[in-house]
Symmetry: none
Subunit: 220 residues, 4 copies
DNA sequence: GATGAATGAGTTTTCATTCAT
DNA sequence: GATGAATGAAAACTCATTCAT
């Protein structure tokens, strides 16, 4: 992705950095930011404590780097999923599938990701919160774009603002994923993306012009 | 629930306890569990630190008590909303409205509630996590019951499992509420519950039997 | 000196504070600021480390308090010595004697005092340096006042600026005291203050008007 | 002093060593021993940290070498000043002038020199303290020799022990120099050495035989 | 029963020194 | 011989908890 010519030294440093981040990820995702000490990270990553401080200016910096890199990666993958080929429905299906796959493969990261994008994170850590949320908002806009485009070409019936639909779909997926995270046996993430999609689609599609759902509500 | 005859002493203790919890709530919701010290809670509640330890066995116990009581209260109120009078649609509407109202009136608690029920809470605090989640699951079952009942009496079309629908509706509300929490101006929580409800209902209602949404997907 | 009504508690706190400062003084004077750890001070004063931090906001604060209090005391005592009764000569004699006595009785403090007022202290410690030097300058002005007064009433011949004479006398005493500090046997601080005073006085006194010292230099 | 035939290699090493010492001097005099890290010295001198350790066994050794060399140089120059041509008065004048010139040209070194020779240096650094003080004592003896010689040839009146006079003159100069160091504008080091010298001489000279200063004191 | 002073284990971070390249 | 990445002991400081008054 970047210039390929990294010296051996530089490549080694990258590897070490990744090992540190990996150890930190494990620990943070197991116990949360405040319950992990730098000594633990050093021990788990098998580096001396001082070496950690050569790579990161402090615990906060280490955590920020970790979160930033993971979030960036997730958003990249998800953005690719919804910006790829296919009509809007296919792209949403792909989004649901990819999101599930990413979760399955990155459980530890997910715990942190969720703590940052959902719930009430207390990251006083100047700026991180804002940064992540902005990146997330940016992604939601992309997702809203898919609905918008579906509206324009008549694939979707305009039952709500595209942004709301994006929020809805994303939070639906997250809800299923959190259930899965808690008890994978009891709450498997749907193999078929339509299980989730239909929750929104079963009335979203413009072909259902003959129905009178709205009227029903209006009468209330 | 308990015997009503509390001595003056006991009543005083209850008041003191509530004052401690109120001070703790303010602080925890402002700064998060780990960034609040027992001294701060003592200072804010105007009790001696030793007195705090007469009421709670430690910081963790205090936090647990706080979370438990708040969650219990929320679930109670929400359960009442969905178990009250009216058909299923009305009950869901009431749920959305009550949830909005409860949030508006309890912003500090909400931050903690969200941290516990959504996202990846790191509450290693033996059991709290489990306890809260169980209570939450219990509530989701109640909510699912509303859909179930709607299915049975033909008000809803069976577009998914009732539990999934409960999860979907709840996470939809949460998503809107988190948006509102972040920026109340930009993302007001809908006055009209149908704004949220329609996201699910526009195809969920059994009156739309004539439409061919499903077929469309099957053809894919 | 101050309002006498200190509660027992307050008196105890004062005692503890003094014990902490005493332990710190010993250690700082033995090994210097940077070679003493808070743990050592805690151990030597027989308090828990946390208790130290209840009395002083940090190591720097502890050191500053120590220096400030000692310096203030010294300057007070010395100022009293030169502002007491007697003609200028007597007052200077008393200054030399009192300075010797104070040194003898406060060897550990002296090491710190000297490090602060003489030599090149590297007290980056915002302000302390300045504060101490200002207090010292103030004292030198008092001492210069004695010479000034001696000039005015004709007791002293005006062989230099009064401030220079103050600096000269003070540095003379310090020099003798440092010698004594290094090797009390070999370099006892003079019992008779005139041993020091005569180094300046043997020509300073106005009664020596008949001599031609200056002329001698002019002819060179 | 040493054999003159240094190989190119050896000469290079000397140069490097001097560069290291120069960088260290700058830093130590700016911030004090404990506030300078070996990394800083390495960076400022543009050598690798490992290279520093090839030349000096450690930080302490580096500092000792620095102090030793600077002190040696100062004492050499000052000894030359007082051992040169001229009568005792001229030699003392030259001493005062040279001392002023050396200070002016070596402010950074001076800060360290003062920290070592005056005040209470905390150089636990085994031996350095003693070593420097011995060299200093040696110099004071040379200076005392000038007074001694002045006594012998009748140029000076024996108003005190020659060693005391040496201490007195040196501390007088130091006092003026410290004043100058603190505020060169307000306290310039005297251009005319007699400004300092007269503080001692105005009664020291044997030509003032007619005066009765001593008697005056005796009467007290 | 309430109080808050005292405690000390545990945290983050620095930096002199070593040694494989 | 020079290099600088890696090391880990040691420092300053915090805070949950105890217990004598």
């Amino acid at each position: 992705m970047e210039g390929r010519k990294l010296s051996r030294r530089q490549r080694e440093r990258q590897t070490q950095r990744q090992e540190m981040l990996a150890a930190a990820l494990e620990l943070f995702s197991e116990k949360g930011y405040h319950n992990v000490s730098m000594h633990e990270i050093a021990a788990r990553s098998e580096f001396a404590i001082g070496t950690l401080y050569k790579f990161f200016t402090g615990k906060e910096d280490l955590y920020k780097a970790l979160i930033r890199e993971k979030c960036e990666r997730f958003h990249q993958v998800l953005t690719e999923a919804i910006e790829g080929a296919g009509d809007e429905v296919e792209r949403l299906r792909r989004y649901i599938e990819v999101k599930g796959a990413v979760f399955r493969d990155n459980v530890p990261s997910i715990r942190l990701y969720l703590a940052e994008t959902r719930g009430a994170s207390f990251n006083i850590m100047a700026g991180l919160d804002r940064e992540i949320r902005e990146r997330y908002a940016q992604f939601l806009d992309s997702l809203a774009g898919v609905f918008e485009s579906g509206f324009r070409n008549g694939l979707f019936r305009p039952i709500g603002r595209s942004f709301h639909l994006a929020v809805a779909l994303d939070s639906l997926c997250n809800a299923f994923l959190v259930l899965w995270l808690e008890d994978p046996e009891k709450h498997p993430y749907p193999e078929d993306p339509d299980t989730i999609l239909n929750l929104l689609f079963e009335g979203l599609l413009s072909t259902s012009e003959g129905r009178g759902g709205d009227r029903r509500f209006e009468s209330h």
